[in-house]
Subunit: 77 residues, 2 copies
């Protein structure tokens, strides 16, 4: 099975979501791509159908856009 | 570790996202709750911070709201 790919842009909410996604899926089953740093992969993400980050592209090509919803603690910090 | 909980409402897009989530996380690590059918669990979902479905509540209590993004095939069918 191909890996899932988690695209994010390095914001605090994205990083929090990254920890959750890796905890749920397992780091060996998901590749993490920071498209803020790896800008040459933005086109790849767009081609996969990513409209916003954070998002997970599943091994079968579906895109799950994640709206983490900032916690009040995130807002306060 | 507690299980994650995937809340959905039975729509085609939710069911598609459910298959993806179970495929990614593993059925043994996620409880699936159809709050359209199990209406007594709507309050539980709201208390957990669920604002929209489908959504995953992680074992540590974070809420990942998922905007699956209907595929063109879903739209056509």
């Amino acid at each position: 099975m191909n890996k899932a790919i988690f695209y994010h842009a390095g914001c605090p909410v994205c990083v929090s979501a990254e920890h959750d996604i890796i905890g749920l899926i397992g780091s060996e089953k998901v590749e993490v791509v920071n498209i803020g740093e790896q800008r040459d992969r933005i086109q790849e993400a767009e081609n996969a159908g990513v409209k916003s980050v954070p998002a997970v592209v599943t091994p079968n090509g579906n895109v799950l856009h994640i709206n983490f919803g900032a916690s009040m603690e995130d807002v306060k910090s």
